[in-house]
Symmetry: C2
């Protein structure tokens, strides 16, 4: 199955547009995990097992693993998701972006080493920096378009030929680069009007929407702006608000409770 | 010493603007190395030892290590450069780019784990995606501005408020973000006129210039366009043309020969 097929199946099966972002910061882990060598894996696997029936995807953020020399735990985590929760796609959030020959190496990293189903990619270097990922026909490529951070406007909001740069990225991605149907886009929840602009440009392409939860994006406005005609089309990401909902041995149950509330809050507006 | 101070010292001591890019592809290694477990380290360390007196910096490309689960060899390689060739700065070419909290993790990866002296960063997500690297006052941050690949023009050459996007990035980086003097810029050698434009915008900020050698950029035009008043200001990168100059046990000597020729070709036009 392709990433898009897996995602569509997970939207239906779990009745969910929620993506749980796995940004494991050991400083925030419950005390009983802190002494363990494999604590990053253990923490994330517990979150995954507690929420897998409530999500359309999981999104591990590679920086949190790389900063702690924990690539082996990231490999183990993705293998765990594939084995225990087949059908839930894994998005490797690495935001890579480089010339073609180097992008080929990053595609090997994402798809052959980590066996992710999709990867986030930065569009600044243009089409040939994206194509090596598209050479894996079952995989998804999720391009940064409009990001949810304060500096996101520094470049993305610049006017160019009558449109904003992020709109140009959406147009290029959807109308020129997406010949194989593998491309999705990142559009931050802190800008619902811009989610609507991107949706108008790209048709039914899936949108990965970070920024609800800890970053403060509004769920109702996000869903209204971004859903497709069949009330899907979105992977609405929440990371910290779910991961760190509880601080003790009940952290996974606390995460499940927030994930359930978030899924249902999203569904209320579909 | 800061990255900029190390770089300035290496420009003088080795009379060189050459940066050797370490993009180790085991398929291109000499046969006698291919069976070794640590072949990536051994290959790169041999190149480093054969060229260290001819360069102003080394630039390992992390994708080539990550694709082969060889982060440990990258750590060992950078430690080897620091130990055997003190004073030659190491640029980790990882082109990271993410929101502040994640960029903090990537900064830990680059500067605390790998102990790089500088890191390449993608500007698409704006100022707060760059600031966490600047929190390390001795380190350099090298922002993508104008890249040497065919798709580089897709976004970077768009007109915005009377200038190209890459010019806007140069202006933002040099005039707004570079309050601490830690920022350099990447400008590809395949566009000498654009190197000159960037130089005019940014003053004496160092430019990392990929694209000579295998990518075909012209050395004379690059030096003329990019040098500063004291005939430095450039890190002119060559990777494949040096790394794979020889195919057998003499590969390091062959690499040295091409590195020497390249350094001297650059110096001819300073």
């Amino acid at each position: 199955m392709t990433f898009i097929e897996q995602l569509s199946a997970a939207w239906q099966k779990n009745n969910s547009l929620l993506c749980v972002g796995l940004d494991p910061d050991p400083a925030k882990f419950p005390a009983h995990l802190k002494g363990r060598d494999d604590k990053i894996f253990e923490f994330c696997a517990a979150i995954v097992d507690a929420t897998a029936d409530l999500v359309c995807s999981f999104k591990p953020q590679i920086a949190y693993f790389a900063a702690r020399r924990a690539e082996d735990q990231l490999e183990a985590l993705i293998a765990h998701i594939h084995e225990k929760h087949p059908g839930i796609p894994v998005i490797l959030d690495s935001k890579r972006g480089d010339i073609g020959s180097t992008a080929e190496q990053y595609a090997v990293e994402a798809f052959e080493r980590y066996k992710a189903d999709a990867v986030t990619v930065n569009p600044y270097m243009g089409r040939d920096s994206v194509e090596p990922y598209l050479a894996y026909p079952d995989k998804g490529v999720i391009l940064l378009c409009r990001t949810s951070n304060p500096g996101g406007s520094d470049l993305q909001f610049l006017e160019t030929n009558g449109e904003k740069l992020y709109e140009r990225v959406a147009r290029l991605a959807a109308q020129e680069w997406n010949t194989s149907g593998q491309i999705s886009l990142v559009v931050g929840a802190t800008f619902p009007a811009e989610i609507a602009r991107v949706r108008a440009i790209v048709g039914d392409i899936p949108l990965l929407v970070p920024g609800i939860g800890a970053q403060g994006g509004d769920i109702e406005a996000t869903v209204n702006a971004g859903r497709t005609a069949n009330a899907t089309g979105l992977m609405i990401n929440s990371s910290r608000a779910i991961l760190y909902a509880g601080k003790d041995e009940g952290f996974a149950a606390a995460a499940r409770k927030v994930a359930l509330e978030t899924r249902d809050a999203i569904n209320q507006y579909r």
